[in-house]
């Protein structure tokens, strides 16, 4: 057996900050975020794309970071759960609704759901899309939660979607 596989240089803009690293081609984006950058808010529940706990935004689109290779994110933008709060540490409406509506119990699936829901809210806000309960559950069914029974998660996202459709002002809680 030969030694370690050859490493490749990559540059990824993570949460608005450029990071250059040499990585093995087989390194997943989730391992890169967690182990190279210390961004442990991105959780790994299955490493096989089934649970969605590792969901991040890749160039603004939700992606499974466990099934994405770090090299595939070379030259692109990645946003993780750590990017959601503003410079003063204030929560987004979504985060605030998750807390208030108890849309989490153990908290492990929470970052993935927040990133998925952030994408949905952005579509509603920027593209004017509206989501029926059915359309929303279809989208949210990409991720798994084992604790809550999903009810408060759906209600939290619906609350924020309602807030945005009622008024376009005030993104922060």
């Amino acid at each position: 057996m030969n030694g370690q596989p050859e490493k490749h240089p990559i540059v990824i803009a993570v949460n608005g900050e450029k990071h250059g690293e040499y990585v093995e081609p087989r390194m997943s984006l989730s391992d890169f975020l967690r182990d190279k950058l210390g961004l442990t808010g991105t959780h790994i529940g299955c490493h096989e794309g089934a649970c969605g706990a590792c969901t991040v935004l890749l160039d603004g689109v939700s992606a499974r970071s466990c099934l994405t290779l770090a090299t595939q994110a070379d030259g692109r933008q990645v946003d993780t759960v750590e990017s959601l709060v503003d410079d003063d540490g204030r929560l987004t409406l979504l985060q605030e609704a998750f807390v208030r509506r108890f849309a989490l119990q153990c908290g492990f699936c929470t970052p993935g759901f927040l990133m998925l829901a952030t994408e949905i809210v952005k579509e509603a806000q920027e593209e004017g899309r509206s989501f029926s309960r059915e359309a929303l559950t279809e989208r949210l069914s990409a991720n798994l939660c084992r604790c809550t029974g999903y009810v408060p998660i759906v209600e939290a996202v619906e609350e924020v979607l309602r807030t945005h459709s009622d008024s376009n002002g005030g993104e922060r809680a």
């Binding site: 030694g3 967690r34 529940g45 096989e48 929560l91 108890f102 908290g107 699936c109 279809e138 084992r146």
Partner: protein, 805 residues
């Protein structure tokens, strides 16, 4: 009585102390922890269900760059003492109890060797370089097969594959003999029997297990981070297995990403990784990979119940006979045998059954060892009872709810001793049934279903009643039922020098919200805002002792009561200091929001910080009073507490593809006073959705060669957002006399009766000649097979016509 319609909770009291941190990505789960100089462990597991290990060659793996150590089972069997058992029933046989099997693999996934390397990638590369020569043996593939006298033996020295048997009624010396079950069954008008199967499933917390062990330079002190519910049990097990004193082992559970009973007892990896860290004098981490979790973590259920019940003409139960058979998997785990015992002991549920004859048998097979999952034997008991009661109702022409009402323990009969020797503490069983029927519109729903069926749709209504055994203890009884840990809990309360409050709990939060409940309890006890309270947990260095730990739905009632006991002790002292400073009799001093004052004086209260400042300075105190403000409270429940409830399910079956849609679940529920209604609702709803998964989707199947058919989350179907029914929760609050706060547990309520209610509803939806559904999950395949045998199945055209109408 309250009615919960998810309204977003009470804005004034936070429903989770940790939520604000978690939504920022600030959780600190096991894999998030990294230690300097750490190495990574990966485990080689047997691909054979049953095989003798002839030879293991680790030389190529050892040569790989980055590999530091490779160990095998034979080597470790000299150095590590076998682990003990949380459930150790009388007469129970045990397995080797070692971290790595020394000579024979007994299931696919049995740990055979371990690699320690620089990282996960290299460690997994090294596993591929280990060659093991196996001599395959014929496997035992089912519990029935295990009972065959000619079956291969898993543990040759046992002489058979039977691990343990338990029987009820339990003979009690000097007591009158229990009612004869044969007489009871002979005298019944209706005698029903059937065999029901709850398939092998798994709790599957989204955070897999993991262990990180660190030892100091002298290798005499170990710190072990592990994702567990039971830090003191793990400390005891590591210390015993590595022959260390307990004061040299510190166990830390950081944020736990779900547990559901699956992380309740010690696992081989906790001992193995501790051993490796000590041997290498370096931190070693092992993070369970999801694919390996399906063979390495403990599944549960896997039980068949053959049950016979005799009824009189009014539908009243006269007697019950049952044989339960638990498929324990290869070697008994620390918790395995308890599930079958619980099923037997709780088979009568919330009902009066005067005569019983129950035998619980647990056998070993060539599958992963069985452990705990939320409900722990209770859903397995509820499913056969509630299915058979529905059938009795149909055969006797009595409404299903009415038949249950006639058998429920009446409100004036508590405390009620059961025929299996337990004591039901308190409840208003029939009142809750009536309330739930009324709020769900049960009678109208029955009519709705009949109309829908007349129009060709397969719509059905089902209900199931349950009780939940909670506040697990008391310590005096546990040894009699084979539990090797104490059933008491303790809490330390400290008022800090600035008057803020720190609570040290023995309980481990894992999403159930115990930290939040204890914080609000302490805030109420001292009449301070909740943000004046900090709750510390998850570290044997500072957490008070608990033996049974965070399982058996005991945190609110048992740990909560111990917090009351501790707070009371501190408040006695505070009152003495206040009386001294106010120059009043302690009897005349009272605590109000803001501090202590003389009752009726109209004075400004003396704030807590003034009293605590005195307590810590040691000056301004009554003569002879010890400085400081800290006390340990201990609570050992005098008896168990039984929460209870009823689940009503409305479902629709798709005859074309065999899928089931659960439209509504109405859940009437009573866990005594709700210490935090949002948490209670979260536990019930979350548990009910897990029950839905067990009813319709989840199954860890094995093929005819005892190979596991699930090695990936894509093969193990969990409920998604799309399966979420409309929930309506109703509550009564009947306190238990057996805890200081009246609280009963709630953790397992949702999961117990939901499967039976859903399957009863499915049966109701199906044509009357479809055979009884006796196995969960009711997968589309199982349902379509049942429908194929029906001669009155609705035709496709009828079905289509209804949908387009």
């Amino acid at each position: 009585m309250t009615e919960h319609v998810n309204d977003g909770g009470d804005a004034d009291s936070p429903v989770s102390l940790n939520a604000d941190r978690w939504v920022r990505g600030g959780g600190r789960y096991l894999a998030d922890i990294h230690l300097p100089r750490e190495l990574t462990c990966a485990i080689l597991r047997s691909p054979h269900p049953h095989a003798q290990i002839v030879r293991i060659d680790t030389s190529k793996a050892e040569e790989l760059e980055g590999v530091r150590l490779v160990v095998t089972g034979a080597e470790l069997s000299e150095e590590i003492v076998p682990h003990g058992y949380l459930w150790d029933l009388p007469g129970q046989k045990v397995g080797h109890g070692l971290c790595l099997t020394p000579d024979k693999a007994r299931y696919v996934g049995d740990p055979v060797a371990a690699v320690v390397a620089t990282d996960q990638y290299v460690a997994e590369d090294a596993l591929d370089l280990i060659t093991v020569q196996y001599d395959p043996l014929p496997p035992v593939n089912s519990a029935q097969e295990a009972m065959d006298p000619d079956a291969p033996l898993l543990h040759e020295h046992w002489g058979d594959n039977i691990q343990v048997r338990a029987q009820w009624p339990v003979p009690v010396a000097d007591d009158s003999p229990p009612p004869n079950v044969d007489d009871a069954l002979d005298s019944s008008t209706l005698l029903l029997h059937d065999t029901f199967t709850s398939s092998r499933i798994i709790g599957l917390p989204l955070e897999t297990r993991g262990v990180i062990a660190d030892c100091d330079a002298t290798a005499s002190n170990l710190t072990v981070y592990t994702s567990t519910q039971s830090i003191h049990q793990i400390r005891e097990a590591i210390a015993a297995s590595l022959r260390m004193p307990e004061n040299q082992v510190r166990v830390i559970a950081s944020d736990v990403g779900g547990a559901f009973g699956m992380k309740a007892v010690v696992y081989p990896e906790e001992i193995l990784v501790s051993y490796l860290a000590r041997r290498l004098r370096r931190p070693v981490r092992w993070i369970e990979q999801r694919d390996e979790s399906f063979v390495a973590s403990m599944p549960s259920r896997a039980q068949e119940v053959a049950i016979q019940i005799g009824f009189d003409s009014e539908g009243v139960m006269l007697g019950l006979r049952a044989n339960t058979l638990t498929d324990l998997g290869a070697s008994p785990s620390a918790a395995g045998a308890g599930t079958g015992w619980v099923t037997g002991a709780l088979l009568c549920g919330p009902y009066r059954v005067p005569a019983v004859d129950i035998t619980a048998t647990a056998v070993v097979t060539n599958k992963s060892p069985l452990g705990a999952y939320r409900g722990y034997g209770q859903p397995e008991a509820n499913f056969p009872m509630e299915r058979l009661l529905d059938r009795a109702a149909r055969e006797l022409g009595i409404d299903a709810a009415e038949l249950r009402r006639r058998n429920l323990v009446p409100s004036d009969s508590f405390p009620h001793p059961t025929s299996t020797g337990l004591m039901l503490d308190s409840g208003r069983y029939t009142e809750l049934l009536d309330l739930t029927l009324q709020r769900s519109g049960y009678a109208e729903l029955r009519e709705y279903c009949e109309h829908a069926r007349a129009a060709g749709r397969l719509v059905g209504l089902g209900l199931a009643y349950y009780n939940e055994c909670t506040n697990f203890g008391p310590s005096g009884i546990l040894p009699l039922i084979g539990v090797t840990q104490g059933g008491w809990d303790s809490t330390t309360v400290r008022v800090e020098p600035d008057g803020r409050i720190r609570v040290f709990t023995s309980q481990t939060p894992m999403g159930q919200g115990v930290e939040t409940v204890l914080a609000s309890t302490a805030a109420d006890a001292f009449a301070v805002p909740m943000d004046h309270v900090t709750v510390c947990y998850g570290d044997t260095l500072s957490s008070p002792y608990t033996g049974y730990a965070s399982g058996g739905s005991r945190a609110a009632g048992v740990a909560g009561s111990s917090l009351h006991a501790a707070a009371d002790k501190v408040k006695v002292k505070l009152r003495q200091i206040a009386a001294h400073q106010l120059e009043a009799d302690p009897e005349d001093v009272e605590l109000v929001a803001g501090g202590y004052l003389v009752r009726g004086s109209g004075m400004e209260p003396l704030p807590l910080e003034a009293l605590s400042a005195a307590a810590y300075r040691g000056a301004g105190l009554p003569d002879g009073l010890e400085p400081g403000l800290e006390a340990v409270g201990v609570f050992d429940p005098p008896s168990l507490a039984f929460s209870y409830g009823v689940v009503v399910a409305l479902v629709e079956v798709d005859a074309d593809d065999g899928t089931v849609r659960v439209d509504n679940l109405w859940i009437g529920h009573d866990c005594g006073p709700q210490l935090n209604p949002a948490i209670v609702a979260g536990q019930v709803v979350g548990g009910a959705l897990q029950g839905l998964g067990a009813a319709l989707y989840e199954e860890l199947g094995y093929d005819e060669h005892a190979q596991p058919m699930v090695r990936s989350m894509t093969d193990y179907l969990l409920p998604t957002v799309k399966d979420m029914p409309e929930f309506t929760l109703l509550h009564l609050e009947t306190p238990t006399p057996f805890s200081l706060n009246g609280a009963k547990g709630v953790g397992e309520s949702g999961v117990i009766a939901t499967p039976a209610a859903i399957v009863n509803a499915i049966q109701d939806a199906l044509p009357s000649d479809v055979e009884e559904l006796t196995t969960i999950p009711v997968t589309p395949l199982r349902l379509l097979r049942s429908l194929e045998e029906s001669t009155v199945s609705p035709s496709k055209s009828q079905d289509t016509a209804t949908h387009s109408a």
